[in-house]
Amino acid sequence: MKGLLYCSFILCLGLGSCNQIETTDAHDTDAPTEQAALSEMSLYNLESEWMNQENEPVKLPQLQGKVQLVAMVYTSCTYACPRIVADLKRIEASIEKYKNDEVGIVLVTMDPERDTPEKLKAFAEENKLDAGRWTLLTSDEGNIQELAVLLSMKYKNSGNGEIAHSNIITVLNPAGEIMHQQEGLGKDPDETVKSIEGLLKQL
């Protein structure tokens, strides 16, 4: 039964890829302004559906309204991923004074097959990630790839359980636009922290 449910979940996600004809413009509706009019360069223009570590459905525009730090990982990674989480924690420590509704951290898996919401939850607990601050997301491969290419991530599943990938921490402004990217591991987080602080001053 669980298998069936999982199948239908994947099916639902898969169907979103070819969007039906949209004749009405989002700007013309009376929807609240915060939901309408995403800027052209907002990552939140992606219409895909995701699941978080609590097994709740998430659409990317829900991440709007605060600064988000985004990185891609896979939880069975032994080398770079623990280090990128460590890098994120370093940044988190320097922005401790900001509330959870001002800054969030988003980890997106590159390995949807193994990283189920349950697995992501276990990973969050193992790594003592504050649930108020951190969101872990999975979706189907196509949706993950769409987000990955927008983050300029390169990755390749070698098939032997390892995924070769670039390590990038991205700072998104509250509108979902890329404001800064930190590439590589163990980098001095100063610039990233400055970028976050700069954005928060504007709020």
């Binding site: 069936l4 890829s17 969007n19 949209e22 990674c77 390749k156 590439e183 590589g184």
Partner: protein, 261 residues
């Protein structure tokens, strides 16, 4: 019990569909029999396995793409969001739904100046997908007569000559291009093509930076170096792909769709 029957039924339907798909090929697609090949650019020399798949005979043409944007307004020139396609999207077209004065010349030419997102959406809407890099390269190994012409010096020479040609003012109709062993046109000699996982090549953007490539950027196999730079043609394709971003549109970059079996 009911559940079991349901499952069995689903399974049967699944099997039937599969058999049917193998029997009747969708229009203008060919069956590419899977196999293994050693990518001409990769980290290790282990052959890559490619499953059998279906591939479009032709790259997508301007007129086909026009039909697509007529049906899906969000992909029209004036409507597309910049994050999904840059400002040169469909640059050669006169307007949203017009190819312009040269329509008759470019109707059957490959559509170019399309982004990865646009190409992906087109294939999705046909019930297809973009070809993976490995599938594309596997199918591109073919000459007119051989499925794998990797060791055919003449074929290689011809390929490399094409890559050194400037682009013509009007791209030729897709039917006039090179037809290979599988009956697929234009894999060489027409346009570059988007692939589903164009972002899988582990070459860092700038070649200058590659010299002292920051290994820290990568996890897993670390870095993928050039395996067989002897094949400069494949090397160029990999290098070109690795320089692309998903919303880029380029004057000689088109696409075709594929389908899993």
């Amino acid at each position: 019990m009911i559940l079991q029957r349901l499952l069995l039924l689903m399974l049967l339907i699944g099997v039937c569909c599969k058999v049917q798909a193998q029997k009747s090929l969708p229009k203008n697609m060919v069956h590419v029999k899977g196999g293994t090949f050693v990518p001409l650019y990769g980290s290790d020399s282990t052959p890559v396995k490619v499953q059998s798949f279906l591939l479009d005979v032709y790259p997508v043409t301007n007129s086909e793409y026009l039909a697509f944007v007529s049906k899906y307004p969000k992909w029209r020139k004036s409507a597309v969001k910049k994050i999904f396609a840059d400002e040169n999207y469909l640059r050669g077209w006169a307007s949203d739904l017009s190819l312009g004065a040269n329509a008759t010349k470019i109707n059957n030419s490959p559509v170019v100046n399309v982004s990865w997102f646009a190409a992906k959406a087109y294939c999705d809407c046909q019930g297809k997908r973009l070809a993976k890099v490995e599938e594309w390269e596997f199918a591109a190994l073919a000459s007119e007569t051989k499925a794998n012409a990797a060791n055919d010096a003449k074929f290689y020479q011809r390929s490399i000559e094409w890559y050194s040609q400037p682009n013509p003012t009007y791209l030729p109709p897709v039917q006039k291009s090179f037809r290979n062993y599988y009956g697929v046109y234009g894999m060489i000699g027409l346009v570059w093509e988007w692939t589903q996982n164009f972002n899988s090549a582990m070459v860092v953007g700038e070649s200058r930076a590659d010299v002292t490539m920051d290994r820290q950027l990568f996890c897993g196999s670390g870095s993928n170096g050039a395996k067989d730079v002897k094949n400069y043609v494949a090397f160029m394709r990999y290098a070109f792909r690795s320089s692309l971003k998903s919303n880029y549109t380029v004057a000689n970059l088109g696409f075709r769709c594929a389908k899993s079996i």
